[in-house]
Symmetry: C2
Subunit: 214 residues, 2 copies
């Protein structure tokens, strides 16, 4: 098993990786709009389970691409997720990535309320006068709070990417999002993570970028 010396540069590795993913998905026919997202998540995780676990609300990809084109911002629940999102492409359309987890006001409010910083972050994001894509890869409490605010008509997200990973309240929090009125992309079950959240954002960003001026 030797190193493949024809594919050592990042662009070559990525192209070849997507070819392998395509092959290993076999004859499986993916929805054209969803395929780039599913493949990029598999690319970032080497985990083919996502071909089955990723759930999409109706027309969500179309809505999400339109929101990015209009300059929607992305709010994440981790600095890791923020670090992984392609901020250059997002900025072309006027958007930016925001993470309030290290915000002092958020920490103070969480402490007063006995809630989590993730919950307080969502409350802070709800006050923004912007279209927002929520990219939640870590905190189920962020999804629970989003569900409450959506149900109370206090927030209308452009998209909820609900992919926290873990063992406590994670599965349940994702089902809340699936049962909400918001457009969603959710990784059903325990798996997910900040890397998966970033991969979904990047897949959407690259789709917008490829169709630019088309």
């Amino acid at each position: 098993m030797k190193i493949d010396l024809e594919n050592v540069l990042p662009a070559d590795i990525e192209r070849r990786s997507f070819e392998i993913i395509e092959q290993e998905l076999g004859g499986r026919i993916l929805d054209k709009e969803k395929a780039p997202i599913i493949k990029r998540v598999i690319h970032t995780s080497a985990d083919f389970e996502y071909a089955d676990s990723l759930m999409f609300s109706e027309n969500v990809v179309e809505y999400a691409l339109a929101a990015i084109r209009r300059g929607a911002c992305i709010v994440t629940d981790t600095e890791m997720g923020k670090a992984g999102i392609n901020k250059k492409v997002l900025a072309k359309y006027g958007g930016e990535v925001l993470c309030f987890m290290a915000d002092e006001e958020v920490a103070r409010i969480a402490k007063i309320n006995g809630s989590t910083r993730a919950t307080a972050s969502i409350d802070k994001a709800a006050l923004l006068d912007k279209e927002i894509i929520f990219a939640i890869g870590n905190a189920p409490t962020a999804l629970v709070r989003l569900y409450e605010l959506i149900t109370e008509n206090k927030i209308k997200p452009a998209l909820v990417i609900g992919v926290p990973v873990g063992f406590v309240n994670v599965v349940q929090s994702k089902e809340l999002v699936i049962n909400s009125s918001a457009p969603y992309i959710v990784a059903r079950g325990r798996k997910g993570g900040s890397n998966v959240a970033a991969a979904i954002c990047n897949a959407l960003l690259y789709m917008v970028d490829e169709t630019r001026g088309a």
Copy 2:
């Protein structure tokens, strides 16, 4: 399936998550030194395959903890990995996390050499006058270059965390590390990622921190 209202704060969620992981690992007996690392990687991925795929060189945990106590730095190949590592705990012992991927000199050298920025990053790290833990969660070329420098006696890492994820050269690059003379923790196979690299670093940092002053 209801939200578990007794475990909504991060510390409670983490404690309960580790209990569930322990239960689901069943009667399996993990090496005492390796267990906190294996469990934290499962915690960050919800993927029990890591219980089998994580490979450790002899006494690597003991060596790694000693290196952290002496102030070793951590060099990562992604900003995501850097974002995920607990820099506060590392700083207590005099270490810091470095990532050279966005370094302009590194970009220039990679371009001149027709190599990757990850390769050039390793060359730059090799010039540091410090003990280094390499936490590689993305670029197989970083591991290939590390292997070359180790073999040529040009670098002597305190630890190589070899957990890139992917489909091209990833499996092979990890086997190189396993066959090198360096202390290693490697996730054999395709799986891994910056989140896994950060989780391994954090598991080691928390082990050092728990035994502080003991």
